[in-house]
C-alpha cells in the first residue's frame, strides 16, 4: 500500500510540475523524496533472506 501511495504522489507531483505552479511542484518533490527515504529506512530493517 505504501508504494501505491508513493507512486500516486509522484504522479501528482508530475502533473503539478507540468500544469501547476513551480513552487508547489518543488515543495511536493521534497515531500516525495522524504517519503521515499523514510520508506527505504523502514524496509532496511526487513529480515534478510539469503538465496543460497
Amino acid at each position: 500500500m505504501e508504494f501505491t501511495v508513493l507512486f500516486l504522489a509522484v504522479t501528482v507531483v508530475m502533473l503539478v510540475a507540468w500544469r501547476g505552479p513551480r513552487s508547489l511542484a518543488l515543495t511536493l518533490f521534497a515531500a516525495v523524496l522524504f517519503a521515499s527515504v523514510a520508506t527505504y529506512l523502514h524496509h532496511a530493517t526487513d529480515a534478510l533472506k539469503l538465496s543460497f
Binding site: 508504494f3 501505491t4 504522479t11 508530475m14 507540468w18 513551480r22 511542484a25 518533490f29 526487513d46 529480515a47
Partner: protein, 184 residues
C-alpha cells in the same frame, strides 16, 4: 547549447526513463516476477528522476531542476547499491532473473550512475540558462508526448503496486498479486 536544444535533450531523457519503466513492466509481466520493496523503491526513484526534465520542459532549463534530478539519482543509486551488497556473497544467486548478465538492481545502479554523469555533463553548458525572450519556452509535440508517456507509466505503477501489495504492507518477497489472490 541553446535552450531549445536543452529542452529536446530533456525530452529525450524522459523517453529513456520511459524505456526503463516499460522494461521493468515487461520483465514483471512476461517473466511473472514481482518486484520486491527495494526493487519498487528503485523504480520509484526513476520516476522521481523524471520530475526535473518535466520542469525543464515546462519552465525552461534551470540549474535547480537539474539539481532535483541529481538528488533523485543519488538516492536511487544508494538503494541499488544496498541491493547489490545484499547479494554480493559468493554463491548467492541474486534476486530475480539476470538480464544481459546483470540483475535488475545492478542495471539500476549503472542507470543511476549514468544519469548522474549525463546530468553533470549537461550542466556544463551555461548558454541554456540565458533568457532568450521566450520564457517559459513552448514545448513541442516531441516533448509533450514524452511528458505524458512518463506520467502514464507512473500512473500504471499505481495500479500495479495496488494489485501486488493490496491494502496492507508490501511483502518482503512477493510471489502473488495480493488483490488477485482471491479470484485465482
Amino acid at each position: 547549447m541553446t535552450r531549445a536544444f536543452a529542452v529536446t535533450l530533456n525530452a529525450t531523457g524522459l523517453y529513456a526513463l520511459a524505456l526503463v519503466l516499460a522494461a521493468a513492466f515487461a520483465a514483471q509481466l512476461l517473466l511473472h516476477e514481482l518486484p520486491c520493496p527495494l526493487c519498487l523503491l528503485q523504480r520509484l526513484q526513476f520516476t522521481v528522476l523524471a520530475i526535473g526534465p518535466i520542469l525543464n520542459i515546462r519552465w525552461g532549463p534551470r540549474p535547480s531542476h537539474y539539481a532535483l534530478s541529481l538528488l533523485a539519482a543519488a538516492i536511487g543509486m544508494a538503494y541499488s547499491t544496498r541491493q547489490v551488497l545484499l547479494h554480493i556473497m559468493p554463491g548467492d544467486a541474486g534476486y530475480g532473473t539476470a538480464l544481459l548478465g546483470y540483475h535488475y538492481y545492478t542495471l539500476a545502479l549503472i542507470g543511476f550512475a549514468a544519469a548522474i554523469v549525463l546530468l553533470a555533463a549537461i550542466l556544463l553548458f551555461d548558454r541554456q540558462f540565458e533568457p532568450d525572450g521566450a520564457t517559459p519556452p513552448v514545448a513541442n509535440a516531441f516533448a509533450r508526448a514524452a511528458v505524458w508517456l512518463v506520467i502514464g507509466l507512473t500512473a500504471l505503477n499505481v495500479v500495479s503496486t495496488l494489485l501486488e501489495c493490496g491494502f496492507g504492507a508490501c511483502a518482503e518477497n512477493p510471489v502473488v498479486y495480493e488483490l488477485l489472490k482471491g479470484g485465482s
